[in-house]
């Protein structure tokens, strides 16, 4: 019994290690996009990723065939949502220092943009993950794209969609 348990532990550690080796790069990129930090100075993103992966490690035996990457990504999104809520005193607040392209967006806009476009999650899935209606996710994503693609001083980005081009 003990031997079987030990060998299970070894296999589990090996599986988890190869998962981390394969997924950490992309997940860290996602986390860095979420926190809008520069790529070589990203303490918040690293912390976020460490916590998300630690959670995946702790629930590794209860995944039951679920993709561990999905689980880690979900943790990342949920933890970022919660942290942004506490940190900025509101999920929709804009950050004070617009230094970086993505930093012009609110945390919520960034989260939805990164999940939808960088991670390629479907609108309905992203909506379910964040507890929002799908229409709202679509609207926030459109607003975030408009902010990113147009200069920051653009007063009414919605006009672009109304006017026939």
């Amino acid at each position: 019994m003990r031997e079987r348990r030990a060998s299970q532990g070894i296999r589990r550690a090996r599986d988890f290690e190869s998962f981390v080796a394969g997924a950490a790069g992309r997940l860290l990129h996602t986390a860095t996009l979420l926190t809008a930090e520069p790529r070589d100075a990203n303490p918040r993103a690293r912390r976020l990723l460490t916590l998300a992966l630690a959670h995946t490690y702790a629930s590794w035996d209860r995944l039951h065939g679920e993709d561990p990457y999905d689980s880690a990504r979900r943790q990342l999104a949920v933890r970022f949502q919660r942290a942004a809520w506490h940190q900025y005193g509101g999920f929709g607040r804009r950050r004070a220092s617009p230094d970086h392209g993505l930093a012009r967006l609110t945390p919520q806009e960034r989260l939805i943009l990164v999940l939808r476009l960088y991670e390629g999650i479907a609108e309905e899935q992203a909506a379910a993950l964040l507890g929002l209606p799908a229409e709202r996710v679509r609207a926030i994503c459109a607003r975030a794209m408009a902010t990113l693609l147009h200069p920051p001083r653009d007063p009414v980005p919605a006009r672009m969609e109304v006017a026939p081009s």
Binding site: A13, F16, E17, V20, A21, A24, G25, R26, L28, H29, T32, L33, R39, D40, N42, A45, R46, L49, T50, L51, L53, A54, H55, T56, Y57, A58, G101, L113, V114, L117, Y118, M145, L148, L149, S165
Partner: protein
């Protein structure tokens, strides 16, 4: 620009940056934290089971001593004497 084009443009913008370097001590930190989480979870589960067991034992002892299902002797009717 229509929607797919804009989506593609934003996607390119997100992907053009080279990915950040993964810190070498990431795996160790993850296993340390994850192991702590696992141990804590296990301890909490054990504690809850122990509490449940203790509650069951206490209830059994109480029920065996107090016997709440036995009808108490009536105290309202006056004793029938001198009839």
């Amino acid at each position: 620009m229509n929607l797919p084009e804009r989506e593609a443009a934003v996607r390119r913008m997100l992907e053009q940056e080279p990915p950040p370097p993964v810190p070498p001590d990431l795996y160790g930190a993850v296993v340390r934290r994850g192991g702590r989480m696992l141990r804590r979870r296990r301890a909490v589960r054990r504690l809850l089971w122990l509490a449940l067991l203790a509650a069951a034992v206490v209830f059994t002892v109480w029920a065996a001593t107090v016997r709440p299902w036995v009808e108490p002797p009536s105290e309202t009717t006056p004793p029938l004497t001198g009839w």
